[in-house]
């Protein structure tokens, strides 16, 4: 299983080339995406201009889930092959994923206030995203609780893997539980198919978020690697 691309050094050489490209594409997609989302796309016939929050909210939620899936995938590599690169990337992903989760929750509640009349509703989607945030924070707390990072990362990786199996359960069970308490579901996300004029800015914003995610990931992974190099140098001298 010794493949060159799993070596951290190779990754960082590739990332050096990709990093400026990602920044360029990220800025481009953010500019075009925000322009089309905020100015040229039509307002919703029921929700008016408030639905424009959707363009920053929905990609954030997607990225939060994507980051957790990636984290679990890398955790598997950490546990089975003890890949140093997977370790670096997993540690870097966790706070970014938590950031997107917070972003999704905050923008969602800002939208919920005018639409549902409350910042927080005990809805299946909201609750499961909040649980996602707790899973991220549990991962981080467990990783930080160890004095040796190599022990901490493996304990945290195991937790991330257990958590990913739990995620769909939470999603369905809360839904089921909610229908017991409240007769009408408040989920508005299952709306009929979306018009292309709204889908385009959404796609552009998603692309922008993806590049933003990878920019942050490369930056954080570089910082983490340099921090570890410094620690090793300190311990040698």
């Amino acid at each position: 299983m010794k493949v060159t691309w799993v070596k951290p050094r190779y990754f960082f050489e590739v990332s050096k080339v990709l990093f400026p490209i990602f920044i360029g594409l990220g800025v481009f997609f953010f500019a075009v995406g925000l322009y089309t989302a905020l100015l040229t796309s039509p307002p919703d016939y029921q929700q008016g201009d408030a639905m424009r929050i959707m363009y920053v909210h929905v990609p954030a939620s997607w990225m939060a889930l994507f980051a957790y899936a990636l984290l679990a995938f890398l955790s598997f590599f950490v546990l089975v092959w003890r890949s140093p690169l997977a370790e670096l990337l997993a540690v870097s992903i966790a706070p970014i994923g938590a950031l997107f989760t917070v972003l999704s929750l905050v923008t969602g509640s800002l939208w919920g206030k005018p639409m549902w009349g409350a910042y927080w509703v005990w809805d299946a989607r909201l609750t499961s995203v909040l649980v996602l945030l707790f899973l991220y924070s549990g991962y981080w707390a467990l990783y930080k609780a160890y004095t040796h990072t190599d022990q901490g990362i493996r304990a945290a990786s195991l937790l991330a893997l257990v958590g990913v199996i739990n995620l769909p359960i939470i999603k369905w069970s809360v839904n089921w539980w909610n229908t017991l308490h409240q007769p009408a579901s408040l989920t508005k996300l299952s709306a009929p198919s979306i018009h292309p004029s709204m889908l385009l800015p959404l796609g552009l914003m998603t692309a922008a978020y993806i590049f933003y995610f990878f920019i942050l990931l490369i930056l954080r992974a570089r910082t983490e690697l340099n921090k570890r190099k410094l620690l090793i140098q300190e311990s040698l001298t």
């Binding site: 546990l79 707790f134 991962y139 609780a145 040796h148 304990a155 958590g163 739990n166 089921w176």
Partner: protein
């Protein structure tokens, strides 16, 4: 192996007293804080009892496991030819007999605080009994994961509480069904299924965690 675990647990009889007293006292405080409103108490009783049972389990398991780890027992388990998961499973069973069953009994004894009917009391007792093995297995997984840290019970609750949510939801939906006089069997089976699934998951992950919990 179960007998050995039972014997091990019986050596820590002093701790059991504090575990059950904590549970009873916390329930007492909660019911006192809610006030004498009978309908409110009746509605919130299952939720309170469940949450406190979860917390009590998570606070009590790490101490017992930490002692065994200090005595080098975990290394021996790894060297032993039998599976590590057998050891974990016997631990879960022993904890169910020594902590889970009495905890459910304490919950049952204290239910007059909350003016529950006998039918509700019985179903609460049963849901606690079904849910406890999963809680105990999760608690063991958590204490293995945090064995080499300083965090203790607080850290365990932080990492495991999101995982207990399905149990909490199904356990309480059983109680809701019973309170409303509806058919509670579907939620009952869902609770049992979730509990079994969590036990298997926690033990599988726990035997993996065991291998790196023993590294110093």
């Amino acid at each position: 192996m179960i007998l050995r675990e039972l014997y091990n647990l019986s050596l820590h009889r002093g701790r059991f007293f504090s575990i059950f007293t904590f549970f009873a006292l916390a329930l007492f405080c909660a019911s006192l804080a809610l006030g004498p409103n009978e309908r409110l108490l009746k509605q919130s009783a299952p939720a309170l009892i469940w949450i406190l049972a979860i917390l009590t389990t998570f606070f009590s398991t790490p101490h017992l496991l930490k002692k065994e780890a200090q005595h080098g027992l975990l290394d021996e388990i790894l060297l032993h030819p039998s599976l590590a998961s057998t050891y974990l499973l016997s631990k879960v069973i022993a904890e169910c007999i020594f902590i889970g069953f009495p905890l459910a009994c304490v919950g049952l004894l204290l239910s007059p605080f909350f003016s529950l009917s006998s039918h509700e009391m019985l179903s609460l007792f049963l849901t606690l009994l079904i849910g406890f093995p999963a809680l105990s297995a999760l608690g063991i997984l958590g204490s293995l994961l945090t064995l080499n840290t300083q965090g203790g019970g607080l850290l365990i609750s932080l990492i495991l509480l999101p995982l207990t949510l399905p149990l909490l939801i199904f356990g309480l939906s059983v109680m809701d069904m019973v309170r409303l006089g509806l058919d509670s069997f579907p939620s009952f089976w869902l609770l049992s299924g979730t509990s079994l699934f969590l036990i298997i998951l926690a033990i599988a992950a726990g035997s993996w965690a065991l291998s790196f919990a023993t590294e110093h």
